[in-house]
Symmetry: C2
Subunit: 106 residues, 2 copies
DNA sequence: TGGATAGTACGCAAAAGTTCGAACAAGCCG
DNA sequence: CGGCTTGTTCGAACTTTTGCGTACTATCCA
């Protein structure tokens, strides 16, 4: 298995990024990654099958939100912080900050 | 016709907002609203039919991104800046700023 | 009242997204 | 080598979204 391809920084589309973040499972994966920096597929605690999870990770990767690094039999995912910040300054921080907001109605 | 219902500020869902912003037509409507403050349906320059446009505006409204105010036979849309800022501080600004970024590959 | 304007609601078809299991590929370890 | 672990790919079923035309409601104006 070789390293999967990632879109170039310049070609990241805003609508595509929002689409990637519009699924609760994917949003939760992203917020999780913000805390641990690097995480492999099987360490995610999302109640979905292996193949579904793999699909979501692919969506995130193809939208340019995450990078995947191969290490042995595992794939370590991380956020493309620098690239996102270069292309859309402040966006990722705002997203992560918003996701940390309590969802309560006060 | 009476004023359509809008979700309460506290019940705004982040994933729902991203979903609303994930469609190019809706994202363009939002960025347009950021410039003119208030705009009615028929003033939008989106190449879509009236009914489709109405559908997109409904999605934006139900996600809590916009408000609709009735004035005569027209509906004036505007961004829910204050509410969004209260619930997800800085998010809308980051989104609008990102949308203003040139899409070139430099 | 009658007509024009502005937008919504409904029903439909096409396209896209979600989810899973099964089969496959690739690297590790005994 | 053979089996275990990790993850991808494929096909299928199902749901959601998108886009349109038509029909409808509501408001304004002559």
């Amino acid at each position: 298995m070789r390293t999967p391809s990632h879109p170039a920084t310049e070609s990241l589309q805003l609508a595509g990024i929002f689409h990637a973040l519009s699924d609760p499972a994917r949003l939760s994966i992203v917020t999780g990654l913000a805390e641990v920096e690097e995480q492999c597929c099987s360490d995610l605690d999302v109640p979905l099958s292996k193949s579904t999870l793999s699909h979501h990770l692919k969506v995130l990767r193809e939208a340019g939100v995450t990078t995947t690094r191969v290490e042995g039999t595992r794939r370590l995912m991380s956020l493309r912080r620098d690239d996102l910040d270069l292309r859309f300054p402040g966006l990722l921080d705002a997203v992560l900050n918003a996701a940390r907001e309590p969802a309560d109605a006060h």
